[in-house]
Amino acid sequence: MQLSEQLARHEAKMRALYAEFETLVRQVETFGRRSFLKLAGMTGGGLVLAFKLEAQASGAQADGAGTPDLNAFVRIAPDDTVTLFSKCPEIGQGIKTAFGLIIAEELDADWKKVKVEQAPVKPKIYGYMGAGGSTSIPRGWDQLRQAGAAARAMLVAAAAKQWNVPTSELSASASVVTHKASGRKATYGELAQAAASLPVPDVATLPLKNRADYKLIGKRYTGVDNRKIVTGQPLFGVDVELPGMLIANLVMCPAPGGKVKSANLDEIKKMPGVVDAFVLEGTDDLTEVKPCVAIVAKSTWEAFKAKAALKMEWDESNASKDSLTQLAAKAKDLARKLPAPASNIGDVDKAFASAGKVVEAEYDYAMVAHQHLEPQNATAWWHDGVMEIWSPSQGSDRGLAGVAKMLKLSEDKMIVHQTRAGGGFGRRLMNDYMFQAAAIAMKVSAPVKLQWKREDDFAQDFFRAGGFHYLKGAVGTDGKLSAIQTHSVGFSADGTHAVTGSGRSNNSFPTDMAPNTRHAITLLPLLTPCGAWRGPTDNVQWFASGSFLHELSVAAGRDHVEFLLEWVNRPRAAGPQQGQGADGRPAPAPDTSRIFNAGRATGVVKMAAEKSGWGKKLPAGSGLGISFAFGYGGHVAEAVELSVDAKKHITIHKITAVADIGPIINIGGADNQLQCGVLFALSAAMFEGIGVEQGRVQQTNFHQYPILRMRSAPPVEPYFIQSDFRPAGLGEPSVLPLAAALGNAIFAATGTRVRTMPFSRAGYSI
């Protein structure tokens, strides 16, 4: 298959995945009346509350001949231990801790007696199990609370029966049920067995707590895996060890689409420690197995040494010849050649003609790489007609289905274990390493761990596309925003759709930016694989738009905070989307949590202004910049205070970040994620850029791709405005406003506008 076709197919899958994120998150996963089953008598007694999603019921039944193959959310053992299961991958976002807390809150469990375990990868039972689009928390919120509430109700009912008192006289707290009148108490462990013999209540009738009644949610917790992390216990994909395990590495063509012509396999096979070396023709899908040479050795070092000695010739007739330098020149050329607009509101030309001030600007941003610190890996073992895989993926459930298809295995011949992941940032929505490990394992009679080198991670990433935004805007003679015209020049694999991260996002950015708005898109062909990178499209769109709004307010001589507040409060047409329960029942309340909300936007902008000391007098060479972004259900404002010296060296004194993502589950975890998201964005804004020439990625390791280090990491102050909206995730919202806030601050300090990302390309250092 042509490379462009493979890429087009990959992009179609990415669009479907993102559409599914939005559907799933708006659907509001809840349990129907008969969703819960209790499984008594397992694991030495106690109460095990399992569930099935009714929408998934057929899958559950198919799996269930005799012993229903269901998964527990909650397990309460006679020794009082409460075990909770987290169905989403832990990639550093703290989901395992947060999911545990959500269940434990409604369960009224003693957090000290709670253990949180990673659920096995069983998509037929759990539904979608990935982590992406900042959707894990909003997807799981109702479902997990219901699971906790159902178990609590059964424990309370068991106590009521035992003491012959009405449930209304009982209270539960810290894993103990109390009858106040008589002073009787029983622990959950003591009640578990009796609870297991009671019917499961209709979860739809169970009241859930109000925010004011939370005992666990909203406090500060240390992550549930922290003790293992600080003592170096095996947790990650790379840490998997199995008896007789071999180590594999792959050599793939540096230009996407290349095929193996020849390789000195005989020499390689003679090298010390090398067990085998062979060509994998590939699956005609660059998200699975690319044509490559696989080297299997007894140790990682021996595999890496053999890799270095491998001499390859590639057939590059179908390979990418992309040159980002040439594409950039082409894009610059097209900047002001506006194609027919893709969307239009009002009369932009008329607004420009009657404007008080018209501003034009060209923004560009580099292609960037993910480079989470744990390189790609997966362990696969073909045994007993079963393919067993350990993977640090963000979407192991998709990987399971895909690998089964590749191997022509039925999905019940697949066992997939989710490991902790050393970062993800969207790269691990791709499961290529799972496919590769499985393909190698089929040829080797031992468990095999595939270990990429860092250089492989650079060469074979699915990048955030670079691109160009050409903006023209007008403020009226009254100083108010009257028109915006955008032209984004991006990339496409199929000639029609923008690749992931390119083009325009209407999802998180209101299309009607101004009373008169026109958006146009030009797409250039690209054969370099792109993918999701922490806030795809939005992360660059907010850089351009957030900076440009500041250009407009400066042109109008307005205070930027005042201008932003006016902007977020413009009357808009968007209506709320009605949420719906998984079993077709209407959701308890219209779910407005995912849509732009002027009040929430106002709140974060005002608070960021206040906490950053907006309006205060700063010394010459210093400046304060602010920006706002909405995306993935989160409203976020960030403010940067900095100084710039004559050599364009930046010292950031403080970054203030304010987010409204609804109620905060673990305030400590959220603080950390918000700070870290800001610094992740700062790293990309200052330093990060990938070059591609002759289809080949020019950067091979961190020495050519600097990432923010301790010395350059400024203090970040995180704040939250809590609300009763359904909680949103924070992984992506935290990243969005930073680049514009940084550029706005540099302008405030120096009067120079930075329109190129990374800013190092404009001569700035930090």
């Binding site: 990639i91 550093g92 976002q93 703290g94 500060r220 917790y221 240390t222 992550g223 895996d225 922290n226 992390i229 600080v230 003592t231 170096g232 216990q233 095996p234 947790l235 990650f236 060890e241 180590i247 010390p272 420690g273 140790s299 990682t300 070092w301 890496f304 480079q371 989470h372 610190l373 744990e374 902790r420 992941a421 050393g422 970062g423 993800g424 860092r454 608070m607 905060i664 305030i667 400590g668 950390n672 994620q673 700070q675 870290c676 998201g677 610094l679 992740f680 700062l682 390791n701 961190f702 990432i707 923010l708 280090r709 301790m710 010395r711 990491a713 995180p718 704040y719 939250f720 809590q722």
Partner: protein, 162 residues
């Protein structure tokens, strides 16, 4: 070739090629997975171990040169008692993904030994080689200060507004 290594206060003999980096001896031969592979060329610090108390990058340290007393993240706690730096990392919930944190903890341990009350500049200097892709630098810094002066816990003030 046989090498006798002193790892976590124990003599351990391994039979490996002399150019095999200590990192892979630890991970593949001795099944100690705490030291992580990040870059393989000595510039990310996730493979950091202590040799005679100094942080070294085990990915570029051939086993033949690993002649000092080595402490890995698995050996920092003695007799089940966490090292104060490890405890601070738990108390301040430093980790995001956690992949770099073994290296960060060992780097911080060496720093605190040399400078029991390090300044921010000393932290910058000592910790700059330790890459955290997740960007957990603020809490790494706070945790180091916390070990030095437990009463001054800067990180941890809850900012919440209604």
């Amino acid at each position: 070739m046989a090498f006798v290594l002193n790892i976590n206060r124990k003599a351990t003999t391994v039979d490996v090629p002399g150019d095999m980096p200590l990192l892979w001896v630890l991970r593949d031969v001795l099944n100690m997975k705490g030291s992580k592979y990040g870059c393989g060329v000595g510039i990310c610090g996730s493979c950091t171990v202590l040799m005679d108390g100094h942080p070294v990058r085990s990915c570029v340290t051939p086993v033949s040169k690993a002649t000092g007393k080595i402490v890995t993240i698995e050996g920092l706690a003695e007799d089940g008692e966490l090292h104060p730096v490890q405890q601070a990392w738990i108390d301040l919930d430093v980790a995001q993904c956690g992949y770099c944190q073994g290296g960060q903890i060992l780097g911080a341990t060496a720093l605190l030994k040399e400078h029991p009350k390090p300044t921010d500049a000393q932290i910058d200097e000592a910790m700059n080689g330790l890459l955290c892709r997740c960007g957990a630098y603020k809490r790494i810094r706070a945790a180091i200060h916390h070990v030095a002066e437990p009463q001054t816990r800067t990180e941890g003030a809850i900012h919440a507004a209604e």
